[in-house]
Structures are given as C-alpha cells and as structure tokens.
Amino acid sequence: MKTQFSRRDFLRSSGALVVCFSAASAVRPFAMAQGPFDTHRSHIDPERLDSWLRVGSDGAVTAYTGKCDFGQGMLTAQTQLVAEELCLPLYKVKLIQCDTSVTPDQGTTSGSQSTPTNFNSESLAQAAATAREALVGIATQRLGVPADQLVVEDGVVSAKDGRRINYGELVGGRNFEMPVSATAKRRSPGEWKVLGQPVPSIDSVALMTGTFEFVHNVCLPGMVHGRIVRPPQRGASVASVNESSVRHTPGFIKVVVRKNFVGVVAEKQWQAAQAAKQLKVEWNPGPRLPEQSSIYEYLRKQPSREAMLVDSKDVDDKLKSAARVLQATYLHPYQAHGSIGSSCAVADVQAHSATVWSATQSVYPTRQGVSDLTGLPVESVRVIFVRGSGCYGLNAADTVSYDAALLSQAVGRPVRVQLTRKDEFISENYGAACVIDQQAGIDASGSIEVWNCETWAASLGGRPGYDRPGNVITGMLAGFDPESVIPRAAVEPTGELRNGSNAVPSYVAGCVSGKCGGTGSIRSERVLMHAVNSPFFTGPLRSPLRLQNTFAHECFLDEICADVKADPVAYRLNHLSEPRLLEVVRTAAKAATWDARPSPKRDSPRTGVARGRGIACVAYEGDNGYAALVAEVDVDQSTGRIQARRFVVAHDCGPISNPEGLRNQIEGGILQGTSRALGEEITWDNHNVTSTDWNSYKTLPLGIELPAIECVLLDQPAAQATGAGETAITLIAAAIGNAIYDATGARIRQVPFTPERVKAALTVRG
C-alpha cells in the first residue's frame, strides 16, 4: 500500500515549528559496517524523495548516498546530516553508500565535492528536509493540530495535549511518492543538535576491533583467486604466453589473456600468487622512457593543450617597465597515492549479469567500464562500493575492479583479485609531475604590479568516467585507448574565472570578461596552463595540481617578499582582497605568534641546526575552502635533513559539520603533505618504474619525531559548506619550503626536499 501526499499537504507543513532534541551523544556505541540490504523502489531518480531515503516501520531511516567514505569521514558526517534534518538521534539513521542498484548516481566521490554536493541546498540534505516537512505535514492531518503547535523530538511528533505519533506510524515502510522539494526549509546551523557536534567516527569500534568489512574481506561461495601479470616495461606488448608453464601448478584454473592483459586464476590466493610468478610470458619491449634526470625539460617540449586562464594583455609591457623583475621555476615530481593496502576487488561475472564489489570512488562510471570490458549491457552490471584502504584519489581501486571482472568472466566464477605491492605502484595513476614558471614585476614602492605564470602538467589517462576505460592500465592493456593530450592553442578566456586547479595565484585579481573573480589585487596578470603528454598514467592525487601550483605560487611570493625585504604575512595581506582568505592569514599568524620580519632570519647560524618559520595560504579551487598555515622547521645544515617542529593552521570550510572529523582530516593532511614534501617521488629507469615498494618509495613511518599541530577552526555558519579534506595538505610543501629559506637563506624549488637537494641549495645560497 502506498501513502500519497498531495502537494497541498506538503505545502501546509512548510513553516512548521520543528524543535529537535536529538543529541549527537546518543550515538549507539557499536554501530556496524555496511552490510547486505535489499534494493528498493523508485531509486536512481534524484528528483524523487524515495531515491534518497526511506522510513522503516520502526521509525528508523535508511538513507542512500552517492558519496562514499574512504576514511575521510563522509559516512559519519552524512549520517549526522540526515539525522539533523529529520530530528533523529544518529543511531536511527543508516546510510547506504554507493551501490548502482540502490543509490543515486552522484558521479565520483572526489575533489572535496562531497560536502558541497550533499550539505548545501540540494541532493541528500534537501531530501532529508523534504522528508521532515512531509512527515510533519501528515502529522498535522492526523492530529488535527497546526504545524506550528507540534514538536518533533527523536522521530516523534507531539501535540501540546500530549498526543504523540512517531515517524514509523506516519509513513513507516511506505514510499513518500513525491519529488524532492527545492523549498523545504533546512535546519539552520543555529538550530543544530547533531550536526556541528564532535561526533566520533561511526565505524570506529568496528575498525579498532578488526571486525570492519573491507573489500579485501568480501568472500563469496565458490570464490577463487586471481593475480595479475603486468608488462615488465611500460608499453610492452604480449608476444606469447606459455600456459603450460603453470598448468600443473597446484590449484591452477586458468591463464587469462586479453590483448596485453594477462592474469592467472587459481583455487587459493597463494596458488594464484605462485602461478603468476611462474607464468612464462614473452613480451615485445616497450619504448624507452625519458630520462628521469631531464623529465622536466622533456615535459616542456611536448605538444600541449593550452588553456589561458587570465590575460590582462599588458603583462609584457608591464614586465618591461617594472622597477624589478623576478623569475623562478618550480618543479614537482610524480607522486603515488601509495595506499597502505594494495588494491583488491571481487567480481562475479555470469553469462547475463555481473556484480563487482569495489573500493572505487565512482560506482556508476566503474559500472560502465565493466560493461565495456565484459560486453554486458550496463543495466546488467551492479557495482557495490565496499571500502578499501585510504585512496587519496585515483589509486588502483578502479583498475583492480576491471582486473577482477575480466578474470571472473573468463572462468565463470566469482574471482577475488589482490594486487601485489609492486602491481599497485606500477598500476596506479600518479599525481602529475609539473613545471611551473613564475615571473613578477615589482614597482618602485616594492609592491607587485604584474604576475605572469606558465605551467606544464603531465597528463595521460585519468578517471575512466563513463567513456574511457583505457584511462587506467587494465583498460588500456585490454585494448581501450587512454585519453591523451590533443594539442590545442590557447584562446582568450571567456565567461567566469576558472581556478579549479589553483593555477591562478591568490594575489591576482583574476579578471575575465570584465569580471574579477580572483582573491587578490594585482591587475596585470597572465596564467597559461599546458597539459602535456605523460609517459606514465596520471590521475587525481589529493589536491591534484592545486598542491603543485600552490607550492609554486606561495614560494614565489616569499621570494618576492625576501627581495623587497617585506614580512611575508604583512605582504600577503597587502596583496589579497578576499575577506575569508585575509582572515585565515591573520588568524594563523596570530595563533602561531608570528615573528613579523623579512626572511631569511638575520642571526640564523650558518652551520648546525637552524630553525625557521614559513607561511602559505590558499583559497582551495578558488572558493572551495580557505586555509593559511605556518610551519616551523629545523634544518640540519650538516646532513640536509628537515625536521618539522610545529604547524599552525587556520581553516575555514563554512559551517563545520563535525569538528572532530575535520581535525582528523587536517592533522592527517598536514603529515601526509609533510611526507610528500620531504621524501615522496616516483623513480624510473629506461623502461619501467623503480618505485615498487616501501624501500624505494619513501613515506614517513609512525616512529618519526612528530611536530606539534595546532588547528584553529573558523566556523562560518552563514556560509555555504565547502570541502575540507584537501585544503591543509595543499599548503605544506610551500610553508616548509619558505621555512627552510627563513632558517638558512637557501631556496629549494624542487619537491621533495631530500637531504641531497637541501645540501645542494645550501652550497649555492647567498
């Protein structure tokens, strides 16, 4: 039986006095990980309320989201959101994440977009608000009491005369059968009881007690194990595969070859691992890779897809007439996502349907990719998200999902594929290597009057999306082309300023079509981006290009400060115009008790350990979160080693959903950024990547001496919610680079700041 709500009922409920008493602390202590569940009607269409949530006969709510949790806290924050809008305690909301059979298609969980997508005035938040108004609307009818005389508490609607009716009685088990209302009133941050609270992660107990189900733990009846045999060289192709080399190994089931994709299936995981090692494959060699030592010159020379982001047309003239011109080039290497768990997926491909359990960030695009690879119609493919280890972007989760699908289809049984550590390192889409040229003209008063920036970013493949399975290695090996750079000359920018990659420095006005969308005051500006073909697959890695560009902008700004002998904080404040960016800079400086003076520090020792401080700031993607960060580091001038001592960050992401989760993200981002700044770099020889394990790719282990981390969270209840997972990490390389300069007078323009590079910079300092 259906319950129908008329438009009139719905409108009558608007303006209801809704008083929530649900408390964040009412979280049930032992919430479990996502488990099996049934599909429900009316899913997929995001315009329909029933696509987003369902009220059970017990009054508990099941909500469906297309934004999933990889450890960044979206499970808890989105559960808080639904509980808040529906005046429920947290434990009465169960959130189902990313399953093509039951959740709306919200694309990819990436780019710090989950919070803007689901917490502002649309999608999940608006659905939950719509449901609350609808429930109050029915209650007014049932109780014969106007909405403004009803109180809602913990999913129970009460009249003043003591009559009560709960959500289960109002609509339990039935569909709403109505559209999501664009005008349903959201609960304002001032009314929040569940949102805004420091709620512990819902999956914490399951994680800590080893009972949480990761994709690595998915186990199906009849499931067998696959391992992959990747080409030993980039671009190598299969000449021949000798199946008889493994046919007699224990548990052997099949060798699967699909063009240049090679895999082995066996009954047990160990057997598959042994067979993959023993399988004799002859490969035609791939082309020689560019020399690592000259990769940045190589990238500059590649055909380019250009994008002019701003061009005031007076840059060359202004540079000619400027009192002084400074220029510098910054270099950022390829870096790995380097998930702690090598990627894993389970696929069950049958004759007419397929199910894939995947840690992908993009269940719907992955469904399309599996359809392309298996030839099954897309409607017959189901992709179910099950969490893997932290991915930080496009790790090998998508490609291993393809691996599992290909192997399962070949053997007609469910197959679990576990990548090896080496597979993971050579299979993933690296964070892009970048070259960034900076040039600035300084006027007689020492202010910047012109800024010219030109960037080259390596690009090959990327997210497969809905039409490019070849954008990750398995798809390419199986015969699909990756997206490569199609050269194109820059055209004059039109429309609005596009600064999603933070290629435009914070200090310029960002004027396009007469409208200035930047965060700074410099009017003479030019920013030209080049995407150039990469020898390696690239893809989004936490703060993709934003980090690389911000490293270059914020260090170059510091070089200018040093040249004109200005204090780096005061000078930033003089060239910024965006109030929220100004505020985080002021706040970070104050919290760090910033020592206002030019860099480098005058009385710093020239030998032994020197300490310095540096600052950096960013408006993430131009307007998706604001942060400024002060780093204090020790530089051991005899060894070239950097020891971070203290980080102070001021952070503004709009209204804060969960300060506990936010702090965790900021703290983790800061240390991950430190690891990337100090040691992480993909290396290669003539034919393949040589960073294949944790000895050849350096990451900071648990046992390091830890810096102090202080977070100042600036809550902005009236603002739109922004992302928060990538803002702080964007600043680390820049702030550390500036602190090294402050301590020693040595400027390092190439990440990572290895002891060798630090020592080299020390020998050439002024």
Partner: protein, 154 residues
C-alpha cells in the same frame, strides 16, 4: 598439502594447506579473519601484523608451518566490539584512525612493545614503530592513544 593444527584467538583450527602458504592467507582466506590485512606482502608496512605468543609478527611472510603450536592473536582476538581491549579502547577514545587499514600493525606492534617494557620511553616507543606505516597519517592521534594505553599499564 599438509594437515596443520593452528591455535588462533583461543581456538584450535585444523587446516589442510600448503605448508609454505603465508600465515596471512590462512587467517584471511581460510578463517575469514578481518584483523590482519594484506598491505605489501613484503613485511615492510605492518598491516598483516599478528601476535604470536605475545610478539608482533608480520604474517604476510611467515609460512604457516612455522607457527606450529604457538598461540596466534589477531586484532579481533584482542577484544570484541562489546568489550574492546585496553589498547583498542585507547584508540577509540582518541579517534585514532581514518581508513583503519593499518591498525593491526600499529596497535599490535605497540602492545607487544609496551607489554614487554611498560615503562618504555617515547624514543623506545618510536623505535618500536619505526617500520609501521599509516598512509592516512593519523600518527599524532595514534601516538596519543599508545601513550594513553601505556598510562593505564604503569
């Protein structure tokens, strides 16, 4: 193949297995235990850590035949969701996880080190964890949780 008898989390399991199989594969594939995880298969990261007679061991490189009659404890054998072990409680209290994939390495390595030397200095704790990795970089909270556990020990 060989018939082995394994003592895992207080239970005895009889298993037919290639004796060269790494202990990790037996724990996760044959016994469906979720605590120890495949991180690198090279004993470099710690995600597969278990306790064997109280010592932290990387199960991804240990042949199952080498375990013999020794008692193996995994992360889920330490405590339960209803009654977490003291170190698990400390990690819950500090919110010391993001993705949580590395936790066997972090918690069991720290527990083994502190059980052996409850008065370990900060430097000794760091030394014990110098080959344990967390790529979400929850280091600060994890060290706080370990110190919290240690404070309850002494």
């Amino acid at each position: 193949m060989a018939r082995l008898s394994l003592h895992i989390n207080g239970n005895v399991h009889g298993i037919d297995v290639d004796p060269e199989t790494p202990l990790l594969y037996v724990l996760s594939d044959e016994l469906q235990l979720r605590g120890p995880k495949f991180g690198c298969g090279l004993a470099q990261c710690g995600a597969c850590t278990v306790l064997i007679e109280g010592r932290a061991v990387r199960s991804c490189v240990m042949p199952v035949s080498a375990v013999r009659e020794q008692e193996v404890t995994t992360l889920e054998g330490l405590g339960t969701p209803q009654k977490p072990h003291a170190i698990q409680q400390a990690f819950i209290a500090e919110g010391a996880a993001q993705c949580g994939f590395c936790l066997s390495g972090v918690m069991l390595t720290a527990k083994a080190a502190l059980d052996e030397n409850p008065k370990a200095s900060d430097g000794q704790i760091r030394e014990a964890l110098s080959h344990v990795l967390c790529r979400c970089f929850v280091h600060t909270r994890m060290m706080r949780a370990i110190k919290r556990y240690q404070a309850g020990l002494v």
